[in-house]
């Protein structure tokens, strides 16, 4: 069997399994049937194995790491987020987070499949040891910020539901009344929201940023070292550089917010904005600025992987950006009348009395 065909087969199986598991997770989201999430999780793991095979064979036959052109970078990014999701599930049960991860992995891989798949030989500027270091470090930092975003959005949803009295605080506060026990059972399939406390979600977000922030710092420094060698300047306010600095600064605010007694929901919003900035850095710079080029004569920068299929790229960028904004909009708490309702603790205690 031709090795390129093997890579393609692995890629297509991964794409297919991510699609099927996305459907399973969406069904899980609407029916709350636990088994659907379990099946989705197993399929995602299956797809991940095939994608690993595809990336490894590609590295082997392309002769350079599989993160040079758009097809490769997107595929690699999807691989990292699925990998992070699997790692997250080793010690804790974050199966239902697949509702966010699987569709994003499918969309990213689907977008990759629309790109030219032939391996591109390395242009002179990319022939550097930094290709091996800079790119995966930056992609891994994006992946960590994605996890921070997921944890933050879950935090905000849980916070909203608690304040509206629709969900009890996690299982860590033992409840003895039988009325509450039945309530707990009826809420059980809610998945991550029911399973993890606000503190745990907050902690996951912080830990992800604690991984992502140093990675992004290293990514920016190695990028600057590379730029110094290739273009004669460690910093030239190229849009990619500028947006990566913006992302870095947003998470710098996040870390400073954590040293103060500011609310955790504020931190969750800052982390979410940080992920919006990641999307702008990763995709926006390559897929939106070219459109503005005619009006503003914008420089699109020197990051070659954002090339080809600008329209598809813009749709992909806007889709993800829109989805993230929609999620954040949905975490908004209801106007005062609802928030004035007694806190969750009291309302659940009061329920049996009526």
């Amino acid at each position: 069997m031709d090795i390129a065909a093997l890579e393609q087969l692995g890629f297509e199986i991964a794409l297919g399994t991510y699609l099927i598991s996305s459907i399973l997770f969406i069904l899980y989201f609407s029916t709350k049937k636990r088994r659907l999430a379990e099946m989705g999780f197993t399929l995602v793991a299956f797809g991940f194995a095939f994608q690993t095979l595809a990336l490894a064979t590609r590295w082997f036959y392309a002769g350079h790491p599989p993160w040079v052109n758009t097809y490769e970078v997107m595929s690699f990014f999807a691989w990292t987020i699925v990998g992070a999701y699997l790692i997250l599930n080793v010690r804790s049960d974050y199966r239902s987070v697949g509702t966010l991860v699987a569709p994003l992995a499918f969309a990213t891989l689907g977008f990759a499949s629309l790109q030219p798949t032939n391996p591109t030989p390395l242009i002179p500027a990319l022939q550097s040891v930094w290709l091996l270091i800079h790119v995966p470090i930056v992609i891994l930092s994006y992946c960590a910020f994605f996890i921070a975003f997921v944890a933050s959005v879950l935090y905000l949803f849980k916070d909203k539901q608690l304040s509206e009295g629709r969900l009890m605080e996690g299982p860590h506060q033992p409840r003895d009344s039988s009325a509450n026990a039945t309530r707990a059972v009826s809420h059980e399939p809610i998945g991550v929201l029911g399973k993890f406390s606000l503190d745990q979600l907050d902690d996951l977000a912080y830990k992800s940023v604690a991984v992502g922030f140093p990675l992004l710092t290293i990514g920016i420094i190695t990028g600057a070292i590379w730029a110094e060698a290739a273009w004669g300047s460690y910093w030239s306010w190229d849009p990619k550089e500028t947006w990566s600095l913006i992302t870095w600064l947003v998470f710098l605010i996040y870390l400073h917010a954590r040293t103060q007694n500011w609310s955790s929901s504020l931190a969750a919003y800052i982390a979410s904005f940080g992920f919006l900035s990641v999307i702008c850095t990763f995709l926006g710079v390559g897929y939106v600025l070219p459109f503005l080029e005619t009006y503003f004569s914008v420089s699109t920068g020197l990051h070659g992987y954002v090339g080809g299929g600008v329209v598809a790229g813009t749709v992909f960028f806007c889709g993800i950006l829109g989805f993230v904004l929609l999620l954040l909009f949905a975490t908004r708490k209801k106007p005062p009348s609802a928030t004035e309702a007694p806190p969750a603790e009291e309302s659940t205690e009061a329920a049996p009395a009526h």
Partner: protein, 326 residues
């Protein structure tokens, strides 16, 4: 003056300044070349404010922090211990038994009027992480400033030199001669490599070197980058009749790299090293224990719980053994 320092050292002020820099930078990406925003005075003023705020923050905090961390109180009151996030009254265990089980810490001891005071800590550097990062960022900015100032001062820096093949360029006491330029291709016709071969002649010293896209050369403080070539000539005859080099001399670059590395180290230290402190105050029968950690407290407190359980089990074993004797 006091008010100004209070404002400048506050985290809220720093965050607001960063937010303004974020907004200006985002606007800046819509302008080519970058200088419209990034060279403008409002941008530089906010960078300056952030630098000032960073410096003042660390200057005003680092000395009290040093004092607190290096000379912690050892003879503490019960109220002090009871206010700590972890505190417990443990009976049937002596302070020295706990000390023996708590590995890897250096204990400081004091005693007054029959009460023993014990204190141990680990990861002190974790508390200084943010200040190390602040210091690094300031070195980096200094490097940028030095580069900008020196860039104007050096007559050769930031110049593009176009050298016809076979000719040479006279710079700063030495000569750079262009021997040849070569373009190599992949099988599919894409460019694999641009390579200019030059000879550096400096008095009696003569050396021949290659300059490639990712491989500039530095000689006597001047760095030569491959900048352009006669592409028409290459297309028509396979030979470039001229090659352009960008000449740079940036004395700030070492400072920039040093600052970047120090910043990174400071970030890692502040994120990953937790400062753990543990106090004990006890007589023979019981100890009052208090502990605090600036991060990953859960694991730290769990470790204390584990030692407590071990000690309790041993105490019970002893009791059992004792009862047998009777």
């Amino acid at each position: 003056m006091n008010f100004a320092i209070k404002l400048l050292t506050s985290t809220k002020f720093a965050v607001a300044t960063i937010a303004v820099i974020i907004l200006l930078s985002a606007v800046g990406t819509f302008y080519p070349g970058g200088d419209v925003v990034f060279g403008s005075w409002p941008f530089l003023v906010f960078i300056g404010l952030l630098a000032l705020s960073t410096a003042l923050c660390s200057l005003t905090r680092v000395v009290p922090l040093w004092r607190g961390v290096m000379h912690p109180p050892i003879e503490v009151s019960d109220q002090f211990l009871q206010k700590l996030p972890y505190h417990a009254n443990i009976s049937g265990v002596t302070a020295s038994q706990f000390k023996a089980h708590w590995k890897g810490y250096k204990w400081h001891e004091a005693s007054s009027s029959g009460t023993t005071f014990l204190f141990a800590q680990k990861g002190r550097i974790g508390r200084f992480g943010p200040h190390i990062a602040h210091f690094g960022a300031l070195i980096l900015l200094l490097g940028v400033a030095v580069g900008a100032a020196y860039g104007y001062a050096n007559p050769y820096s930031n110049k593009i030199a176009v050298i016809p093949e076979g000719s040479s360029l006279q710079v700063d006491g030495f000569t750079l001669q262009l021997n040849g330029f070569n373009v190599s291709y992949y099988d599919n016709g894409a460019v694999r490599d641009y390579r200019a071969t030059v000879t550096l002649i400096d008095g009696n010293q003569v050396q021949t070197r290659d300059i490639t896209v990712n491989g500039p050369i530095t000689y006597r403080g001047l760095t030569f980058y491959l900048y352009g070539y006669d592409s028409n000539g290459v297309i028509e005859s396979g030979k470039a009749s001229w090659v352009a080099f960008q000449i740079k001399s940036d004395a700030g670059v070492p400072l920039v790299w040093l600052g970047a590395v120090v910043t990174l180290a400071g970030i890692m230290v502040s994120l990953y090293v937790s400062h753990k402190r543990i106090w004990m105050k006890g007589s023979n029968e019981s100890i009052l224990l208090g502990a605090i950690s600036n991060k990953s407290s859960a694991r730290f407190f769990r470790d204390i719980d584990i030692v407590r359980t071990e000690l309790k089990d041993r105490a019970q074993e002893r009791d059992v053994a004792g009862s047998k004797e009777i």
